[in-house]
């Protein structure tokens, strides 16, 4: 299995090396393919092999580095890419904390950065530095608004919240407390946990004591499973909501019967067969098929975020080439301006419409409501 994974990477590496002599467009990619958030980083690193190899008649060369889920290493990787490799843009890093740490270096050197991270804090509120940052994931409030809408439809009045004790869970807590009070939903319990916790009994009991109409679990990846199975084990009968962090197949496998009936809002990648045809669906299908052909298993949503970053760059490069040659500050500034002008570009996650204020650029086409039925994802 290892060799099957390695071969395409090597092949791509070989072709890239061959082209290195020309003045290509250089793009750095920083992912966390090892360490605690490898779950996010591995599909992202694998996706590098699928990124566009040319744009506007120029070859694109990718330099992929691993930050081992360490924000300090992410900063080092960024500095290396900016100072030594003189890259024209950087995709990454995978982690929210790492992304917050590298913004200043991207801004100082005037290098556009496309962050496939969850936290909206990298682009909001917009500042002089964050001008250089674009985010290829749906902002949490976009997903949250969809969930709240659904909750109102089902007449939920009280809500319990269980989130991870990391930027992901904390940001959700903030977003939800704002939106819920506006919608007339009362948050009656807020509990947090660590991804590696071996037991959730305490948090779950605390939530059960307040007996909320529904519980929202905000946790990235497989850690979203434990709270749900514990709640079900202890006999919770209300509706359980999940965020797009749970939108992975391991969620179904690990949770088994306990995941039945869960409602979540996420990108359409999970339910491609069921959504109506659109340009974004075509892009997503192409991405999923190619990835599956190379690696033998379908990609997690996180990989799609990196793929979209590649598409955004490809889309922006022709305009930037009119401003200057690759490798010059003019080209990078042109690239940033062009990225900001992205209009109606279909990606795997939805349709991007960037503005100077909104560097994430999603609208409601960036999410669909999904439920779990008979052990599989279904459009709600």
């Amino acid at each position: 299995m290892l060799s099957k994974k390695l071969l395409p990477v090597l092949l791509v590496g070989a072709t890239l090396g061959f082209n290195a002599a020309q003045a290509d467009i250089k793009i750095g990619v920083v992912t966390s393919a090892t360490g605690p958030i490898a779950l996010v980083g591995i599909p992202q690193k694998n996706t590098v092999a699928l990124l566009p190899d040319s744009a506007g008649g120029e070859k694109i060369r990718y330099i992929s580095l691993d930050d081992s889920s360490d924000p300090t290493a992410a900063v080092k990787a960024f500095k290396k890419l900016i100072d030594e490799e003189k890259v024209d843009a950087i995709i990454g890093p995978s982690g929210s904390a790492a992304a917050m740490g590298v913004i200043q270096f991207a801004a100082e050197s005037g290098t556009p950065m496309l962050a496939p991270v969850g936290t909206a804090a990298v682009v909001l509120p917009m500042t002089e530095q964050k001008k250089w940052v674009f985010k290829t994931t749906q902002n949490d409030d976009l997903i949250a608004a969809a969930l709240i809408e659904q909750m109102q439809k089902e007449g939920v009045k009280t809500l319990g919240l269980i989130g991870t004790a990391d930027p992901y869970g904390e940001n959700w807590e903030n977003v939800m407390s704002g939106l819920a009070s506006k919608a007339g939903i009362k948050i009656v319990a807020t509990e947090s946990f660590q991804r590696q916790d071996t037991s959730m009994t305490g948090q779950s009991l605390k939530v059960l004591m307040t007996n909320p109409d529904a519980v929202l679990i905000a946790a990235p990846g497989s850690s979203s499973v434990m709270p749900q199975t514990t709640l079900k084990d202890q006999g919770y009968k209300g509706q359980i909501y999940q965020t797009h962090g749970a939108a992975l197949d391991p969620f179904l496998r690990l949770g088994g019967k306990a995941t039945e009936g869960t409602i979540l809002a996420a990108s359409m990648m999970l339910v491609l067969d069921e959504v109506p045809d659109s340009a974004a669906k075509e892009t997503a299908t192409h991405y999923v098929d190619t990835y599956t052909r190379i690696y033998g298993n379908p990609p997690a949503t996180f990989g799609g975020n990196v793929y979209d970053a590649g598409l955004l760059l490809k889309n922006a490069i022709p305009a930037a080439l009119e401003k200057g040659k690759p490798g010059t500050p003019e080209f990078r500034a042109g690239l940033r301006d062009a990225l900001e002008k992205t209009k109606e570009m279909p990606g795997t996650q939805g349709v991007y419409n960037m503005t100077p204020e909104d560097h994430s650029g999603f609208d409601e086409r960036g999410r669909v409501m999904i439920t779990v039925k008979d052990g599989d994802w279904k459009l709600l």
Binding site: A38, L39, A165, F193, Q194, R195, Q196, D197, G202, L205
Partner: protein, 345 residues
């Protein structure tokens, strides 16, 4: 907080505490005999759980190649040592046996339909696969520097831990896994439901602790290990091989780690990097026992589990902080009450 919640939390605390107690005991065992703080102990827990999970998914794990590779390295080292010390038929036989064992396991794994065999056989196979990695690990990484300073041993131990986490990511992937429970029934005791897996954990832990106690009190090998722990030089003069003692304790520690992993795998989702935090809590227990006293460490470890369960309820955001802060008063108390004796080995 009512009675029912207290019982549920208590049940949770005792379950985790039993696992921490097992780990605390093996940390003390390894430390007293070899002066190594066994940081990679947690990896045996996660490897055990994840191997079991991959068996249940019907996939032969690539771990067997790791075992085969390590055994080859180990045999090469033994053969090299023999070149210096002269030819020895018995040693050659042992090398042959070890290689045969590893190769046999590889063949066995390929010939069995792993998800069809009973759970007991899966657990046994997991043991057969993982426990030998303990002594082989000692042979390759620690035996050549057995007489080094404890600090050097600690650093090597950390290095092995970091390497094993990386290997774990390669072998098992980042997703994490959980296995089926041993039995699917629940026992109701008045108003409270006891999960059968909880009873399994407590029962097996008690059996393991008692049999460890018996082994150390009643058997010759157990006494030999205790002698090494009390006085290494003296034990050596009495003909107890320090290499043997090291390998035996590592095998025991690996066995306990893997058992713990198999026991808790049905209760919780374990990731390739969950092991460290679990063994760290066992370590807190071991510290409470002053790294020497088995009974105090076991009680301390159960207390850690209890504190964890209740702090999870009262202040979930500060759970880890509360658990690890426990160590400070005990360190203070220990350093104030015990007078320091310089180790002159």
């Amino acid at each position: 907080m009512n009675f029912q919640i207290a019982v549920l939390l208590g049940q949770d605390g005792v379950t985790n505490g039993a696992i921490y107690a097992l780990l605390a005991l093996s940390i003390i065992l390894v430390f007293t005999v070899t002066r190594i703080l066994l940081i990679p102990l947690g990896e045996f827990v996660t490897f055990g759980a994840l191997t079991m999970a991959s068996f249940q998914a019907g996939e032969p794990t690539a771990l067997m190649w790791v075992l085969l590779g390590l055994t080859l390295l180990d045999s090469a080292l033994d053969a090299w040592a023999m070149r210096e010390r002269g030819f020895d038929t018995r040693k050659l036989q042992i090398i042959g046996l070890k290689l045969g064992y590893a190769a046999g396991l590889v063949i066995l794994m390929h010939s069995l339909t792993l998800d069809q065999i009973p759970m007991f056989a899966q657990a046994l196979l997991t043991m057969l696969l993982l426990v030998p990695i303990g002594p082989v690990m000692y042979r390759i990484f620690f035996q050549p520097i057995a007489s080094a300073q404890p600090l050097v041993l600690l650093i090597v131990s950390i290095a092995v831990h970091v390497a094993m986490v990386g290997v774990g990511l390669l072998l098992f992937g980042p997703e994490g896994a959980r296995t089926q429970p041993f039995t699917d029934t629940a026992l109701s005791l008045g108003p409270v439901m006891l999960k059968s897996q909880t009873l399994w954990v407590i029962l097996v832990s008690i059996i393991l602790i008692v049999s460890l106690f018996l082994a150390f009190e009643r058997t010759l090998y157990g006494k030999a290990l205790r002698a090494t722990a009390v006085n290494r030089m003296g034990a050596r003069l009495m003909g107890i091989s320090p290499d043997f003692a090291g390998k035996a304790t590592f095998a025991l520690a690996a066995f306990i780690g893997v058992s713990s992993g198999i026991l808790i795998a049905p209760i919780t989702t374990l990731y390739f990097d969950s092991g460290f935090i679990i063994s760290l809590k066992g370590f807190v227990g071991a510290i409470i026992g002053g790294l020497v006293s088995y009974p105090v460490a076991a009680i301390g470890a159960v207390a850690v589990g209890m504190v964890e369960a209740f702090s999870m309820f009262w202040a979930s955001a500060y759970k880890e902080i509360i658990v690890f802060t426990l160590i400070i008063p005990f360190l203070l108390w220990r350093s104030l009450t015990s007078h320091h004796v310089e180790d002159d080995e």
